[in-house]
Symmetry: none
Subunit: 279 residues, 2 copies
Amino acid sequence: MTDTLVLIRRCLDSLRNSEKKVAKCVLGDPGAVITSSITELAEKAGTSEPTVIRFCRKLGLGGYMELRLNLARDLPSAQYIFENVSASDSLAGIAGKILTAHREAISNTLNRLDLDGLEAAVKALQSARRIEFYGLGGSAIVARDAHHKFFRLGIPCVAYDDPHMQVMSAALLSSEDVAVVISHTGSTKDIIDSAKVARNSGATVIGILGSENAPLLKFCEIALSVHSQEAALRLAPMTSRLVQLAIVDVLFVTVAMKDFNVTKERLDRVKRSLVDKRY
Amino acid sequence: MTDTLVLIRRCLDSLRNSEKKVAKCVLGDPGAVITSSITELAEKAGTSEPTVIRFCRKLGLGGYMELRLNLARDLPSAQYIFENVSASDSLAGIAGKILTAHREAISNTLNRLDLDGLEAAVKALQSARRIEFYGLGGSAIVARDAHHKFFRLGIPCVAYDDPHMQVMSAALLSSEDVAVVISHTGSTKDIIDSAKVARNSGATVIGILGSENAPLLKFCEIALSVHSQEAALRLAPMTSRLVQLAIVDVLFVTVAMKDFNVTKERLDRVKRSLVDKRY
DNA sequence: ATTTGTTTGTAGTAAATTTACAACAAAATT
DNA sequence: AATTTTGTTGTAAATTTACTACAAACAAAT
């Protein structure tokens, strides 16, 4: 499940000199490898074919073919990612670019999942006495969505999108509670305040953010950073939000699965409650 | 840029009998193709290698290698597709299945886009005097997201997740207004009532729903049906919601692009307003 | 029944990947 | 310092793979 490029970087130290040349070559232009034969890559790296194969084996891959396939998998249609929507685009063009960007964002998330962080978050969430979700602006939507999922499990939880309510409620948390703080930038003052207060109350603070070096991180015990190359479509940080929602979904399902029978019974009850609301 | 599997389905009719056998084989287990040689695939399909090549060419691909590479790109973690989450899954397994499901849902949306419906919706939205977004439960989140986007364009708009407020406000709409009604099932009584009232007021009703034959459709002038094959036992209809959000995003960006200079100025103003809120 | 054209598979080729091994360099041991 | 040992890299051969040219089989139409 690990991204091949990440794998290469991690193995870099244990590689021989000529294998390193191959590694640099692959890291330099991974897209080119996909369309190159082993001979071409060997030549480009200034080494021989067997070295390329040994390089692949060191990564734990079966051979050169497997490297190519894995790279193709990891860099899906990279050419579209950075394409921006322009005023002259047709509806189909805009839709294509946006949906592709979203799709790629989900792919990237999948390839670079922080399993340790997720594991820690799940652990905290499932043993939480109560859970509070904080978000502002666009992130308030993610917070609401999280609340809408988690309350069904019977865990007392709530979502606040009012900074005053956030700090007030955060002040009442205890060490058995969890605060999930959602922020795209990770540098909004109000949300940082909320995280700080929650932290001071002794609660476990989980951060879901779209940036990797944000001031908010300082107050998060567990941080799930979600990086989407958003630079292109700057109208609204939608890609980031979509990925955050997906991460919340993963957290929810994982927590829900831990005690499946209880969960199932609760979800069924929730479902039955809605029957009369429908035709 | 179209998904290879969709491409295959589309070409199915123009294929010879033995080429069809290859197609079925690929569609049946695309993941297996990635690790198979042309010989293996030919054998599995009960045909010969040249037929496989001819099949690839019919798709517009250069050869078998290109098919493999394309499939690898399209199915980043083929093992998870359409698989359901089970209680025995690891965190990585759950995350993989969920994110892949979301990814596929976005792909499907992209491939089966109802351009006419979108076009009509965009037209209605951009000439709307005011826009109201109605949603309940999970769909309320989509409604809020839509509001959070569209209000930046300077169009008066609002999101209601209270059925009483919805009908009350809907009663005040006029023929120059647009009501966007969001519902996963399309059969919730309250939301149908809201749509009905909006319709009676003369407003243009746009429906965004996850089902294709829902009672709600009767009251929608424009219907954007988003069908995600939600895995049988899904804990919550998240995939559908994600797709609905993506569709709203497409609508927003398209509307925003129509008068780009005005839009840009407005978005910048909104952005500047937030500067002081950050570190 | 024969012709015509289409569809499919056989056999062969060129190019790719991979293996086996030899050459060399560096390090260690005597 | 010489020799063995160990590790690294490239050469060349073997194997597999993708692809092409051609011919057989088949179907439709005269």
